[in-house]
Amino acid sequence: MSEAAVEKALDQKMNTVPLKMIGKDVSVYYGEKRALFDVNLNIRENTVTALIGPSGCGKSTFLRTLNRMNDTIENCRVTGRITLDEDDIYDPSIDVVELRARVGMVFQKPNPFPKSIYENVSYGPRIHGLARTKADFDEIVETSLQKAGLWNEVKDRLQEPGTGLSGGQQQRLCIARAVAVSPEVILMDEPCSALDPIATAKVEELIHELRANFTIVIVTHSMQQAARVSQRTAMFHLGNLVEENDTDKMFTNPDDQRTQDYIMGRFG
């Protein structure tokens, strides 16, 4: 199949899915060093998009541009344009606090606050004023923990510290915490790299379920995980976007030789 034909087939398959976020010519500089080179990558709604590539290829950097977490790094500069539902998220009129409420994030290492499970989940809704009464908070906490598949495990010990949970539970608590704010997009930066296979399986299952309500972007080092959880995959290499494709196609018949090599384990 020629490249053009592939594009066409692809468009036909995916064009019904609206675009949630559009990244156009995104470049990131850390001081003098350039970490991303004019990346054009679109995130489709209610889709899991996996970002893969060798270490230092810029996939996490790209992920962090999507909710402006790079702002917290000194000397970091982002050029290009990223939109979320038509809003340019780097526009000065956009409030970064509001943006991060719409684009939540789950980190590599589970990082629950050293507070109770209840407080961990209710913190986001509290600072964003999503609930007023105790009953509202209780409800948000319960539904969020249910969405994260953690409710049955912790419902009897909501007042116990979140840091006392196991690693996998902590990560699902972090997902519940992100979900509690009702974001539109959830960014996950290698969410399973610190977890054992069983906890990983649970988180992956959770990602499947969350896809119904949220748009998910996940950075992962595991090819199998990308293949299992995502519908779209983007391959980064040395700060460039090498290829973006349907996951099925990416893992069976990638367009780019580098993708092929990386997936086959020839480098990276």
Binding site: V97, R100, N111, P114, Y123
Partner: protein, 440 residues
């Protein structure tokens, strides 16, 4: 079977590789040596600590006992108010010759002929001169005692106090010591009668400065120190924490903030007397604040404590894992919310420990206070931080300069009091730390 057996055979037939000589014995010996150094360092430290505590306590514990003489005092109207003017002249009760009452009571108690002047004088020397104010206070508080006879517990003179505690060598020739044989005899006579005895010295905690050791105490100095600690805490904690949060969380890293950081670290090492000079120049001479006032002392100590608190607070803030910050920021918390909801509570134990250690440091500081005039002879309790006052370590310094035997034990006694306060503060730091850490 052969598959399993053959590798075993192959391994066993291979000649043992000669190991590189890595000097295992030497390594262990070095480790043992290093441990021995550490243990001996600790032993030396503990030894000197023990010597310090022993020397202070052995000299000072007697300061917490005071010899007193309980005598039935006849508040004779003839002595206090011979012309019966007290209703019209308020000065009369203030200026009456109260020591005479004590002398008469003592002479009666000892059975001395009142006409033998030298003997009466010797007897009178056995009680403290402070009886004048003591009796005056009783009469002024309740003039109805005039004409009655009431038993009053009086302070013994410092020399009798020392003699009674066995601190004066009675083998020394009588003319070369301050306590005469006759007085010692009387002292023993009174002690046998149960009139003269040792009791717990509340005065050392209550009295102010006095040239009479038996009437000198650290009470006034304690109040001065308390004022200063309060000022230091109220000023340095918010200023220090605010400065640290700004420098650690908000300030851009550039040459200016680097310069500020270097300066803060240097300020922590500036000798405290320099802060005293600064306080003298700025607060007293330029701003015209009163000399010897606890307010100025508090300001100077605040300046001295700030670098300590800032350094401790910054270290505590730095120790909060960045993942907590990312978590809060990722949820859409503002920087302020991130700091006040998450970072600061986690840094609190470190901040409080730093603050209390800074305060303890300030409590024991003497040199800057000397320069701003707090080395003052303050008899009365300061009613406000603006009134002349002195501080506990300054009181120790002043007593250490006194020549009298009785001041030696009081100096050590005051050091014990200061050390107790320091220990309490450090314990407080440890407890606070535990309490906050145990939360999660």
């Amino acid at each position: 079977m052969t598959d399993v057996a053959s590798p075993t055979v192959r391994v066993s037939t291979r000649p043992a590789e000669s190991r590189r000589d890595i000097g295992i014995k030497r390594r262990y010996a070095a480790e043992r040596r290093f441990r021995a150094y550490g243990i001996s360092a600790i032993v030396i430290g503990l030894f000197f600590l023990a010597v310090l505590v022993w020397s202070v306590v052995s000299k000072g514990y007697t300061a917490f006992q005071q010899t007193t003489i309980t005598l039935p005092i006849e508040f004779s109207e003839k002595v206090i108010d011979p012309k019966n003017e007290r209703a019209t002249d308020t000065k009369q009760l203030m200026t009456a010759n109260y020591p005479v009452l004590v002398r008469d009571a003592l002479v009666k108690q000892l059975g001395i002929d009142p006409k033998k002047r030298p003997l009466v004088k010797q007897a009178n020397d056995m009680v403290s001169d402070s009886v004048r104010t003591q009796l005056r206070d009783i009469v002024v508080a309740d003039p109805s005692v005039i004409g009655k006879t009431i038993p009053v517990t009086l302070l013994a003179d410092a020399n009798i106090d020392s003699a009674f505690k066995g601190q004066i060598d009675l083998k020394v020739e009588e003319s070369k010591r301050k306590v005469k044989d006759q007085q010692v005899a009387w002292m023993n006579q009174l002690a046998e009668a149960g009139v003269l005895k040792k009791s717990f010295n509340t005065g050392i905690f209550a009295f102010g400065a006095s040239s009479r050791p038996e009437a000198a105490g650290v009470g006034v100095a304690l109040v001065g120190s308390a004022y200063m600690m309060l000022i230091v805490l109220v000023l340095s904690l918010p200023i220090g924490v605010a400065a640290s949060i700004y420098l650690e969380e908000f300030a851009p890293k550039n040459r200016l903030t680097d310069l500020i950081e270097v300066n803060i670290n240097n300020l922590a090492a500036v000798p405290s007397i320099v802060y005293g000079l600064l306080g003298l120049a700025v607060f007293v001479n330029f701003a015209g604040m009163p000399r010897s006032a606890a307010l100025v002392g508090g300001f100077v100590l605040t300046l001295m404590t700030l670098p300590t608190i800032i350094i401790a607070t910054r270290a505590a803030l730095k120790a909060v894992p960045p993942s907590i910050r990312s978590a809060a920021l990722g949820l859409g918390a503002s920087r302020m919310q991130t700091i006040f909801h998450h970072v600061l509570p986690l840094a609190m134990p470190g901040i409080l420990t730093g603050t209390i250690i800074g305060l303890a440091h300030a409590l024991g500081e003497t040199a800057p206070l000397l320069l701003i005039g707090m080395v003052a002879f303050v008899v009365d309790y300061p009613g406000s931080p603006l009134e002349p006052s002195t501080a506990l370590p300054v009181q120790i310094y002043m007593w250490a300069n006194e020549a009298e035997r009785a001041f030696v034990e009081r100096t050590s006694g005051a050091i014990i009091i200061l050390l107790i306060f320091l220990v309490i503060m450090n314990l407080g730091a440890i407890l606070l730390r535990r309490r906050f850490e145990r939360r999660w």
